[in-house]
Symmetry: C2
Subunit: 331 residues, 2 copies
Amino acid sequence: MTNRQWIFARAPNGAVSPDCFEWREAPVPVPGPGEVLVRTRMLSLDPANRAWMNGPSYREQVMPGDVMHGFTLGEVVASNVPEFTTGDLVDGMSGWQDYAAVSAGSLTKRNARLAPEHLIGVLGVTGLTAYHGLFDVGLARPGDVVLVSAAAGAVGTITGQLARLAGCHVVGIAGGPEKCDWLVNELGFHGAIDYKAADFRAQLRAACPNGVDVYFDNVAGEVLDAALLSMNERGRIVCCGAVSAYDGGVSPAGSPLLPGLLITRRLRMEGFIVLDYAAARPQAEARLAGWVEAGQLKTFMDIVEGLENAPAGLVRLLAGGNFGKMAVQVA
Amino acid sequence: MTNRQWIFARAPNGAVSPDCFEWREAPVPVPGPGEVLVRTRMLSLDPANRAWMNGPSYREQVMPGDVMHGFTLGEVVASNVPEFTTGDLVDGMSGWQDYAAVSAGSLTKRNARLAPEHLIGVLGVTGLTAYHGLFDVGLARPGDVVLVSAAAGAVGTITGQLARLAGCHVVGIAGGPEKCDWLVNELGFHGAIDYKAADFRAQLRAACPNGVDVYFDNVAGEVLDAALLSMNERGRIVCCGAVSAYDGGVSPAGSPLLPGLLITRRLRMEGFIVLDYAAARPQAEARLAGWVEAGQLKTFMDIVEGLENAPAGLVRLLAGGNFGKMAVQVA
């Protein structure tokens, strides 16, 4: 038995590329006292993976030589603690490898009767990010105009649908007409606009003639600037991600609208990390599961087959090539 | 009887200068139905006066040909409405002139037993801005480290003292060692740092070794950038003013730290306008008055004598030449 791994070999200079990673086959680790051996079933690919390469943030930096970090859904195959037994499904941060020996305290047991793709998507970090960002940070309420960037991505597809369920008017921002059509026709967004279009700013104004009350920002940069100009007084800007800055290797120039526009329009901009809402997770997860079961919340998975294809998957994700939640089927 | 006026004659190209204004002597206006004739007693000079020249904001732009706009404390000299009688002291926006005929609805009656300099300062827009910004936007609580920029200015001197009264650790940012000494020795700030010093960023880190919980920002620009780097997780940035941007004629480059740092540190940035808190004014004013009467809140007025010196006063204010609240004694 070997433990297949992707090592983060070198930091990208600009966009991440497959040669940032090196394949290695190592022995399967032996769990120590208090540890559990977990076999990775699914590996979540997230824009944040790229941000982790740029420096310490809300968590440690990924350093050359590390097994590449990542959120995982795994199965317990050996346990030295009474809380976990063989066969348990668990959330964790096993990274880009088949097996990890981890401390029991770093794991969360999941309900094995639920579909794995839901556990790693709408009922995992992705869905919880959308839920807490929209309702706890953005304070979305019925009648609000909610604008979502990276709307065809994992968090965006759920955020937009949750806003619609909450009685908001939802407009998505995505790259290209195909994604925009999909948002309106498949996900029920009220409008969608293409940030790659030459007339993007005019499209945004036309799609939100009464302004924007909540802007759920996954991208930062020029899209944030355009959204700022459409904000209504007392609007909320949910700072969830800044993917336009992640893959460039350097920080972008800041917005000349900040902080002045926050004052004149009384805007609130607030950043959050979903891990801060752990105490509220059971309630949020139960609601998300209820909407999924009732068919009111559609989930779209973009599955990469096989651990060997993880680097190519991340490259495609960061280039905006995914529809919905991207994850690697490892075992 | 003539009505002496300063006309906003031409928009500044960069820093405001006295030749942006033209002196005019006009007849005293006659109040129409529903109007009141107000004689200006004191004219408030505020950094916002300069921002009003740059474009429409939360209020109309000052346009060439207008009597220069400004907050005023005045005395009713004729009234066509039953709510006001001769001798009443009133808050208003009479602008840079001796007399204005204004609609009764635009005036707020003040308590004539209080000192005029308090009515236009700590018990006026200035003090209320500090109070609502610190407590309602910044959510300052005992033990917080509160950092205030333009700390020797009108709002800053009150904000810092209110934070101290609330049990916070208060550090001020001001220009030059004289102002910094004054903040510590006269106003009871726990620390003060000089943004003009070459080692400003090192001074800031040394003055806030445990980071900053609330940054009350009156200036934006490079000082905001330095403050952002010292913010603790879940810190609040109160966007009150952006005076570094007002007098330059062009918007500064934005901060490359935004919005990324808001996410990794879970920060909230929120803008506000004191006029939004009108409903809470009586309570806020009563508290401020109580602290002033008890000697717990010191007020520092920088009085310019005579309407003819208003332009020079505004130029000095924007150059950072004031200690405390600047106002023109008109009559």
